[in-house]
């Protein structure tokens, strides 16, 4: 690992860009100008919020998707499709429910045309290595999540891969099971029982990245790009109780929340097609209440918030983002601070809260304001949701557009800015009779 830098990279990504077609033939950029190299003997984590395009990047590296621009090289050769030597573990295991554990593991060998006897031997060995013996004839549905992911690992390892890619491999598992699987994986890696020369994985869990990786690549959202990179030099095994480890985690939070060069003191205004965070009013109210508690004094360390409220960054960051958009709190350098408005909001009673929220929603969320204005202009103060949906689809993917509209409708209803009829799909200003 020490001499990693002088080696040739196993994987090299050069100026990769990816965009998807959205409505009206507009392109939606999801990955912008990605460059990095992965060297022999490294475990690299790609860390980012959901929707930051990190999984897309992993699929491009795997050859499952083509980049719109740029190149991916595996050991010096261009990647155009799934390559032999690169294996992958999936978030939701991707096991075939109609095949037994053994048959699932054999699948990759079948595709390679390995004959039946050898297939059996190699599959049994892989099952053995990953600690699944005794379950060869079980169907996936008989297994717990952890055991299923072990099948996923065995299937990936049996083809003797050079590189292992993992797409949020532990996120579908409970904490204890995930920890257990992680330490087994590290064991395998360190004892070099497999022929793997590098592991690249995608995660939204900061602790997980800091626990496993030698190097963490932090992603920006909208469009996905590399925000920065951190080396984790702590020796294995790492413990999440170790203060040095906590320190690493803190560094990651700081890197993720420090605003980039452009913005000075203050907020970045958002535009109409902004990908509004997936956060509900109840959740941000809860977070503000925690922030406003006497013992915190209105300012908290983000890792602490995540710890106390037991939130993943995927759950936490949307909340902090909405608080910032609404000017209820300010996030910087890994800290979150409540604002005066936020204080006023959280200390008010139910009706007063709605008023404050309404005011901030109209002022700071252009989409909510736009919907309100459209409804005002309409003679009968009504509009079909499709109109707003197609507007959003110019900026976002179809799925995200629907999600964003649903979110803003929820906020608008809470603030009593407008009403919504689910059956008709109609937004209006009047309240339901």
């Amino acid at each position: 690992m020490i001499n990693a830098e002088i080696n040739k990279p196993i994987i090299e990504i050069v100026n990769v860009e990816k965009s998807f077609k959205t409505g009206d033939h507009q392109d939606l950029l999801v990955l912008n100008d990605i460059n990095f190299r992965m060297y022999e003997g490294e475990i690299v984590a790609i860390l980012g919020k959901s929707g930051s395009g990190k999984s897309t990047l992993l699929r491009i590296i795997a050859g499952l998707m083509q980049p719109s621009k740029g190149d991916v090289f595996y050991r010096g050769k261009s990647v155009y499709g799934p390559v032999r030597g690169i294996s992958m573990v999936f978030q939701n295991f991707a096991l075939l429910p109609w095949l037994t554990v053994l048959q699932n593991v054999e699948l990759g060998l079948e595709a390679l045309g390995v004959d039946k006897a050898e297939r059996r031997v190699r599959a049994l060995k892989a099952i053995d290595t990953i600690g699944l013996d005794g379950f060869e004839s079980a169907y996936p549905k008989e297994l717990s999540g952890g055991m299923r992911q072990r099948v996923g690992f065995a299937r990936a390892l049996v083809v003797n891969p050079d590189i292992l890619l993992m797409d949020e491999p532990f996120s579908a598992l409970d904490v204890l099971t995930a920890d257990n699987l992680k330490s087994d994986l590290l064991d395998l890696w360190q004892t070099k029982k497999t022929g793997i020369h590098g592991i690249l994985f995608v995660t939204h869990n900061i602790e997980e990245a800091a626990l496993l990786a030698d190097r963490i690549i932090v992603f920006n959202s909208n469009p996905g790009s590399i925000r920065g990179e951190l080396k984790v030099t702590l020796p294995q095994p790492r413990s999440d109780l170790d203060p040095r480890f906590r320190n690493q985690v803190d560094r990651v939070y700081t890197l993720m929340t420090t605003q980039l060069q452009t913005d000075i003191e203050g907020y970045v205004p958002i535009d109409l097609g902004y990908r509004l965070p997936d956060a509900s009013v109840a959740e941000i109210t809860g977070l503000l209440e925690t922030l406003n508690a006497p013992e915190t004094n209105g300012k908290m360390d983000l890792p602490d918030v995540a710890d106390i409220l037991m939130l993943d960054i995927d759950d936490l960051f949307p909340l902090t983002e909405l608080l910032e958009i609404l000017h209820f709190a300010k996030v910087s350098k890994g800290d979150i601070t409540i604002t005066e408005a936020g204080k006023a909001f959280v200390e008010a009673d139910i009706l007063e809260r709605k008023k404050i929220f309404l005011q901030h929603l109209k002022q700071y969320v252009p989409l909510a304001r736009y919907i309100y204005e459209q409804l005002n202009h309409h003679p009968r103060h009504r509009a079909l949701e499709e109109n707003f949906l197609s507007l959003l689809e110019d900026y976002l993917t179809e799925k995200e557009a629907a999600r964003v509209l649903e979110t803003v409708i929820e906020w608008g209803r809470y603030a009593e800015l407008f009403a919504y009829d689910y059956n008709a799909g109609v937004l209006s200003l009047e309240n339901p009779r």
């Binding site: 499952l64 799934p82 992958m88 999936f90 075939l96």
Partner: protein, 581 residues
């Protein structure tokens, strides 16, 4: 109990108005019918169909007849599977192909199958002159059309909904298209495909019984089978023979249900992705339990697995492991290919339209069309009234059964069994009553149309009622809802999606059955009701294919319009609003 849960499987679900692909498909299908009719008219000479075996009413022959009938069903099934695996897969893999294939299949689904029979018979007789092979093929073809569309649409839909991560895993591990088809796509679709197949088979018994004995161009063709047996029995007004036929069919369906249907569906459960597993659709089969526990049969099973393995891994179909940047010609010139494709389709659509207009102008006078529309509306009215009556009868009964788990477990298989039983075997029993008591033919023939398909309403309602959550029923009791409120607020909305599914199937069945039910006879007494079904049957007998085509086309259009205007909106409403999550 997903029985035909997606009667509208087209990608355009929910849209009220046909899009232009539907219109193209409609023109194409209608002009195909027209062309076939025109072709049939050219050869309306008396047939040379070789020596027909006389049908004996001796019950000793019944097992042989039953075997002939069953083998026709199975042959048609093999063709339907072939069609499904090829055409539906093509549509699922190729968007250009799907754009035209899927609407055409969708429209073909509403073509009245029985009306098609006579035209098919003429066509196949031309193909195999002087032998019984012609009518045999025609019957098999008709059965094929009763099975294939439903199976293909279902398969298309499931293949397209294979989870993305399974697809990706297949790519990552370099499965070839062949391996992927047998390892992923087929197993993934298997539960749905089997269920659809079995339901198609159930409906098929009706068609096979009807089509074995058909009068075309004033000439009766009798193929050895249960259908012909019962036809001859009716002609001879032989009560005993009818009893034997019903008994035989009963046994045949029982065997089919217990030895084929249930074991296969129970076996297919293992292919289900689990997140849809809990839907109270546990199907047990004593046969499959037996198979699992017998040593010899387990051994046979393992052999079959090995064979299947070898089949999937045939080296010819293995993926070539060299990866090159392959961008085929078609991809590079996507625009051009699309343009040519659209132009071709446009030309076909235009050609069909011109042909249709010419065809109608030359052969069909305006008042005939008016008359046929009138007849169509009469039959539509019949179907409508029948659905209402069946609803009034079966919904309360179905709910009563569905809410009682133990009763439902007994009744549900019986209802499914009855749905498979070819109701046309029972027609003579009703006809005898009508003749005996001089009842009004136009009214009393009507119930025959729904005799077979009413069970779809019953067992869907049972299924719907049995999955109403216990919590909700408890809440209703806890709030002290009176009977009326309980039904209006809980039970009716709860069973609505299931009821709609059942009603759509029942209505479709009734349209088809009208061709068999509006003209019935007993001995030398022939009862003819006024309606589109009778119109088609009468002209079939007379060998006037222009009018037959007109009748079929009209029925097809009516069914489509009713589907679009009534059933599809209701179905969408049920899916969006009343689905219990």
């Amino acid at each position: 109990m997903n029985f035909l849960r997606n009667p509208f499987r087209t990608p355009q679900t929910g849209k009220l108005y046909p899009n232009y692909w539907d219109l193209i498909a409609l023109f194409v299908v209608l002009s195909l019918i027209g062309m076939l009719a025109w072709n049939a008219k050219q050869m309306a000479t008396p047939y040379q169909i070789g020596g027909q075996l006389p049908i004996s009413l001796d019950p000793l022959y019944l097992p042989i007849y039953a075997l002939r009938t069953v083998s026709r069903m199975l042959i048609a099934l093999v063709f339907s599977l072939l069609f499904t695996f090829t055409i539906a897969t093509w549509a699922a893999k190729n968007r250009r192909a799907a754009r035209i294939i899927i609407p055409i299949i969708d429209i073909l689904q509403s073509v009245p199958i029985l009306g098609f029979l006579s035209i098919a018979v003429v066509g196949f007789i031309e193909l195999f002159p002087g032998s019984m092979l012609g009518p045999e093929c025609a019957v098999i073809f008709v059965l094929f059309t009763s099975q294939a569309w439903n199976m293909a649409l279902g398969f298309y839909q499931t293949v397209r909904s294979v989870p993305a991560d399974l697809e990706e895993a297949a790519n990552m591990f370099h499965l070839s298209a062949w391996q992927r088809f047998w390892r992923i796509e087929v197993p993934f679709s298997l539960p749905g495909l089997l269920w659809n197949t079995m339901m198609s088979m159930s409906a098929g018994w009706f068609f096979v019984v009807f089509s074995e004995a058909v009068t075309v161009n004033k000439q009766q063709i009798l193929l050895p089978g249960i259908g012909s047996y019962i036809t001859v029995a009716i002609q001879n007004a032989n009560m005993n023979a009818i009893g034997y036929a019903i008994l035989t069919m009963f046994i045949v369906i029982l065997i089919y249900d217990q030895l084929l249907f249930r074991p296969l569906v129970a076996w297919a459960e293992k292919f289900r992705m689990e997140h849809v597993g809990e839907e109270a659709r546990e199907i047990h089969s004593w046969v499959i339990n037996l198979l699992h526990r017998t040593h010899f049969l387990r051994y046979v099973g393992e052999r079959i697995t090995l064979l299947f393995d070898a089949f999937v891994n045939l080296s010819f179909f293995r993926s070539k492991l060299t990866i090159t940047k392959r961008i085929s010609w078609a991809v590079r010139h996507e625009r051009l290919v699309n343009g040519i494709w659209d132009f071709l389709l446009g030309a076909i659509a235009f050609g069909s339209l011109v042909f249709l207009i010419e065809f109608i102008r030359q052969h069909i006078p305006y008042d005939v069309i008016k008359h046929v529309i009138m007849l169509g509306l009469i039959t539509a009215l019949r179907v409508f009234i029948l659905i209402i009556l069946c609803t009034l009868v079966w919904v309360p009964i179905g709910v009563w059964i569905g809410l009682r788990r133990d009763v439902a477990q007994i009744i549900q298989p019986i209802a499914q069994f009855l749905a498979a039983f070819p109701a046309n075997l029972l027609y003579p029993l009703v006809v005898i009553l009508i003749v005996k008591y001089h009842l009004n033919v136009n009214i009393w023939v009507t119930p025959l149309m729904i005799l077979g398909s009413q069970w779809y309403i019953l067992f869907n309602v049972i299924a719907g009622a049995s999955i109403i959550p216990k919590d909700l029923l408890n809440v209703a009791d806890n709030l002290g809802l009176n009977i009326w409120l309980r039904w209006r607020r809980l039970i009716l909305p709860g069973i609505f999606p299931y009821y709609i599914t059942g009603a759509i199937t029942a209505a479709g069945g009734a349209w088809n059955a009208s061709i068999a039910a509006e003209v019935v006879s007993w001995g030398d007494k022939k009862l003819v009701a006024t309606g589109l079904g009778a119109y088609i049957t009468e002209y079939t007998g007379a060998g006037d294919f222009m009018h037959v085509a007109l009748g079929i086309g009209m029925m097809c259009i009516l069914v489509l319009i009713l589907n679009r205007l009534i059933w599809r909106p209701l179905y969408t409403l049920a899916e969006n609003r009343f689905q219990l999550e």
